[in-house]
């Protein structure tokens, strides 16, 4: 069947028809099939739903839709039942038949699957009222959980490609660029370069052809918004790309995507071929004179490829090392031609701005940072997931209102933003308004939007070491200060976590960190010392404790702690003794256990298995280690208690 839409009217007619047919079937079960939920068995759940509905003859009334990532990954696998918008989380595949039977047929709401507020154990049936969703402003993720990402018709029915309509019908490329400039949209990849300006520079280059690249090489550990957009709404990226290409005058585009994202890769592939089939990509799009097509290029697991010049080298098939800028890619990029590289999230913002207008868009956010930003809220937080919030929201709102606070009522210690290029914001800066400038000012950065929450059990030196290890491995090796400097930082940090730090180490870290910042060529090197410098700034006393007192205040660094069984608390249950992988625990039933420190590998198993009621296993560090009572051999619990009386 030829589905090609010949002109804009065709598209409008199609949309009308699609809307009508979707209204016929009132009840929709939206099954989240983002990577997170798929890992939890979402496809199995989907299958059972479809079977059960078939079995009960409900297929006329009920539609099961597999959607992209819903965002509330901590509750997955999950479904939302429309039109009411009832949210059911933590589902097992077999729960599908219960929902079909009790919810759809008997019309009952199922409390056991609903979201429960931790403190009050109150259940909330409607997705829109769950605090996690309530404070969010979904613009880019407007279609998350609403449409089937593998079906272009769903996207069209939700006003998809209407921004493209508007552009092709009534706007010149210059007007598009002006509109984007006016909206104040800035690059969402991290550096925050004004998107409109980038397009303008590229448009005004005389050299042809021009290229457009969507950067989906999301390498930051702890960030997955690009993947989520690709999995839940790939067409919004394609629409954004077509508009961008129209504005800069490109006829070929590339999507550079990580090979580690198989599902996103599959969906963008499907989306591109559907868009071609409908005449939205290819020659003379929708009967206009404008032609544009997209190719997919896979990355192969190199963090540095997220840097734009390295990415260009990678597409060209060269060694993916960054190049000196200027010339910027917008002037001289892919194969020496003017090239715009935009982050996936930036491109997904474009259709929204065009449809709703720059004035509307620029009302959201702060003075210099407009619109919304997607953050992946992970780490030690109750509601893990992907959130889209307006710029200028405070950390407090994100962590306590949306994130639901820290598990176990522990204290917030720091929030790490911006991945390995970012820094740690201390927990007492809760009122910080999140935008590009503020984050840079406190020594972190926006980055791609990872937000890792850390509680008091996190050692900041260890965190800094983790990130430096990462950047040291991923440094391409072109600049010696980055290659060797990261190695030197790592060596010193490792020494400190082992308790072999020297007093002058802190100054050395500071000095070397600043040197790396100044002397590196690309973004990777320029930002890699941030985790060290920001933790030095806000958590200097932790470094000092490691060096001077040989003490890890958070009790993380293995070489500075010991596991110890408190004799007054141990009940002699043998649980830790059975689980210990190295056989370092001595004792028997009803006898107080003793850890043989020479054999202990400090894996922490005993600490985890000791029942919370007993909690006899503790971690000791620094001076505490010298003040413990040593038992020579296991003593009967009873005898010990009497002895201590």
């Amino acid at each position: 069947m030829n589905r090609k839409l010949k002109n804009i009217n065709d598209l409008k007619q199609k949309r009308k028809k699609l809307r009508k047919s979707s209204e016929d079937r009132r009840i929709k079960i939206m099954v989240c099939t983002g990577s997170g939920c798929v890992a939890g068995g979402a496809f199995k759940l989907l299958e059972i739903f479809e079977n059960e509905i078939q079995k009960n003859g409900l297929q006329e009334k009920v539609q099961v839709i597999k959607t992209g990532c819903n965002g509330f990954c901590g509750q997955g696998p999950l479904v939302v039942v429309h039109p009411e918008g009832i949210f059911y989380g933590w589902l097992k595949p077999e729960d599908a038949s219960i929902i079909v039977k009790e919810h759809l047929i008997e019309g009952k709401l199922l409390k056991k699957f609903m979201y429960t507020v931790k403190e009050t154990t109150e259940t909330i049936p409607y997705a829109s009222e769950i605090p996690f969703f309530k404070k969010q402003t979904p613009l880019v993720l407007r279609n998350k959980g609403k449409i089937d990402p593998e079906n272009i018709e769903h996207y069209i029915a939700e006003d998809g490609y209407s921004a493209l309509e508007k552009v092709l019908l009534s706007m010149s490329p210059e007007e598009v660029i002006d509109e984007i400039s006016k909206s104040g949209l800035r690059g969402r990849g991290g550096a925050g370069f004004p998107t409109g300006l980038k397009w303008k520079i590229c448009r005004t280059q005389k050299k042809n052809p021009k290229y457009l690249i969507a950067n989906c090489d999301e390498g930051d550990p702890g960030a997955y918004m690009d993947r989520s957009i690709m999995e839940s709404d790939p067409h919004s990226v394609i629409e954004g790309m077509i508009i961008a290409a129209y504005a800069i005058g490109a006829s070929r585009g590339f999507v550079y995507i990580r090979t580690e994202y198989p599902l996103a890769l599959k969906r963008i592939n499907i989306a591109i071929s559907q868009a071609r089939e409908y005449g939205l990509l290819g020659e003379n799009i929708l009967g206009s004179n404008f032609s544009f097509d997209i190719e997919i290029r896979e990355g192969a697991g190199a963090f540095v490829c997220g840097e734009e010049t390295a990415l260009i080298n990678s597409i060209e098939g060269k060694i993916p090392e960054p190049k000196q800028r200027p010339p910027y890619p917008a002037e001289e990029g892919l194969w020496g031609c003017p090239t715009v590289i935009n982050n996936v999230e930036t491109l997904a913002n474009v259709p929204v701005i065009i449809s709703k207008g720059a004035d509307w868009y620029s009302k959201i956010g702060t003075e210099k940072s407009k619109g919304t930003k997607i953050f992946s809220l992970v780490g030690k937080i109750n509601n893990t997931g992907l959130i889209e919030v307006p710029m200028g929201i405070t950390l407090k709102e994100i962590i306590y209102d949306i994130g639901g606070g820290i598990p176990g009522n522990k204290k917030l210690k720091a929030v790490q933003t911006g991945g390995p290029s970012g820094g740690c914001i201390p927990g007492d800066m809760l009122n910080l308004k999140i935008d590009y400038e503020n984050l840079t000012q406190v020594g972190s950065m926006m980055g791609s939007g990872g937000m890792i929450v850390m509680d008091e059990d996190t050692c900041m030196v260890d965190v800094a070491k983790f990130f430096i290890q990462f950047t040291h491995d991923e440094s391409c090796g072109k600049c010696s200060i980055c290659r060797e400097g990261s190695g030197a930082l790592l060596e010193v940090l490792t020494r400190i976590t082992k308790g072999e730090g020297k007093e002058e180490d802190i100054d050395f870290l500071q000095e070397l960190g600043e040197a790396i910042k100044d002397a590196s060529m690309c973004g990777l090197g320029k930002t890699l010392p941030n985790p060290v410098l920001s933790t030095l700034k806000y958590f200097r006393e932790e470094y000092e404790a490691h060096i001077k007192e040989k003490k890890c205040p958070a009790r993380v660094c293995k070489d500075l702690i010991i596991y110890y069984i408190l004799p007054e608390k141990c009940v002699g249950c043998t649980k830790c003794l059975r689980e210990c992988p190295t056989g370092a625990i001595q004792g028997e039933l009803k006898y107080i256990h003793i850890i043989n420190q020479d054999m202990c590998s400090k894996c922490g198993t005993c600490f985890e298995v000791c029942p919370p009621k007993v909690s006899a296993v503790v971690k000791l560090t620094g001076n505490e280690i010298n003040n413990i009572t040593h038992l020579e051999k296991p003593v009967a619990v009873e005898a010990y208690k009497e002895g201590s009386k």
């Binding site: 990954c73 960030a223 290029r297 990355g299 192969a300 983790f466």
Partner: protein, 291 residues
């Protein structure tokens, strides 16, 4: 006296132990010797041996004095890192053309201190000769089709490597040589790209790559112990492959499933919230699939 006058010179091809002894004998009897050696330095295979048959003499002790003597002898001229191109003979007179490869170093100034070798950032890059006329067939016949599929697009190398990787899980040396030859790229470039990315390997990999996520979120949830457990059960270390070429164990940067930490990806499947006790079951699942 006229009769005793030694005339002419000798050229010795190869600076191994035999070549060195011959050169010394000739030079000691008054003949000028040119010694041409293919490698950058003389010494040959014997320098790699420990003991020699049948006397069990220490190889180095045998050759070291000869190395020194050859180097010092006023009548021996060592032309190393060179090849013989042509030998012409005219009534007992030989004319030899020797091609000397460039060393990119001023040989008359260099003291051989070794400092540059230790500090060269790319010293572990394998130096291999380009080769021509490789034909691939049998096991690797698919490579040809893959190259044909992408040859015409701009920047074909990455898509080709990706597809080869999907079929063979790693790049055998001859395949890389073939790719370089077909695309007309320098082999060193192809090799550097093949070793730059984490997803590629020049060592054999298993059918299933077990990627244990070491992203921040997983790390704080003890993904290191998950890796150790896989290592223990499969009896391989990270970056190694099981003997049956079924599994390769790796740690990976971030799978972007931070809500599911700790996460493991095997092939295209992701396992979230992995517990130590789940791991045997997961391994068995893949073993059964292949029986």
């Amino acid at each position: 006296m006229e009769k005793d006058k030694k005339i002419g010179t000798a050229l010795i091809v190869g600076g191994g132990i035999a070549g060195m002894q011959a050169a010394l004998d000739l030079a000691d009897s008054g003949i000028k010797v040119y010694m041409v050696e293919e490698k950058p330095g003389i010494g040959g295979i014997m320098s790699q041996l420990d003991k020699t048959f049948p006397t069990n003499d220490c190889a180095m002790c045998t050759m070291a004095p000869r190395l020194v003597s050859v180097g010092r002898h006023k009548d021996i001229e060592v032309i190393s890192y060179a090849e013989i191109e042509e030998v012409k003979r005219n009534n007992g007179n030989f004319k030899v053309i020797v091609k000397k490869k460039p060393r990119y170093i001023k040989e008359d100034i260099c003291t051989g201190c070794g400092a540059c070798v230790n500090n060269c950032p790319t010293r572990r890059v394998i130096q291999i000769k380009e080769s021509k006329g490789i034909k691939l067939d049998g096991e690797y016949s698919k490579v040809k089709e893959i190259i044909e599929k992408y040859r015409r697009i701009k920047g074909p190398l990455m898509p080709i490597l990706h597809e080869i990787n999907r079929v063979y899980y790693y790049f055998p040396e001859e395949v890389l040589r073939y790719v370089a030859q077909e695309l007309g790229y320098p082999l060193t470039d192809v090799l550097r790209i093949a070793t730059f990315y984490n997803a590629f390997s020049i060592k054999p990999r298993g059918k299933y790559t077990i990627n244990v996520c070491m992203g921040t979120a997983c790390y704080v949830r003890k993904s290191e112990m998950i890796l150790d457990k896989f290592s223990e059960l499969l009896k391989i270390k990270p970056e190694e492959t099981t003997e049956d070429r079924l599994f390769t164990l790796r740690s990976v940067r971030c799978l972007g499933c931070c809500g599911l930490a700790p996460a493991v990806m095997i092939g295209n499947e992701i396992y979230g919230k992995v517990k130590l006790s789940d791991i045997q079951t997961i391994i068995n699942k893949y073993k059964e699939k292949n029986e």
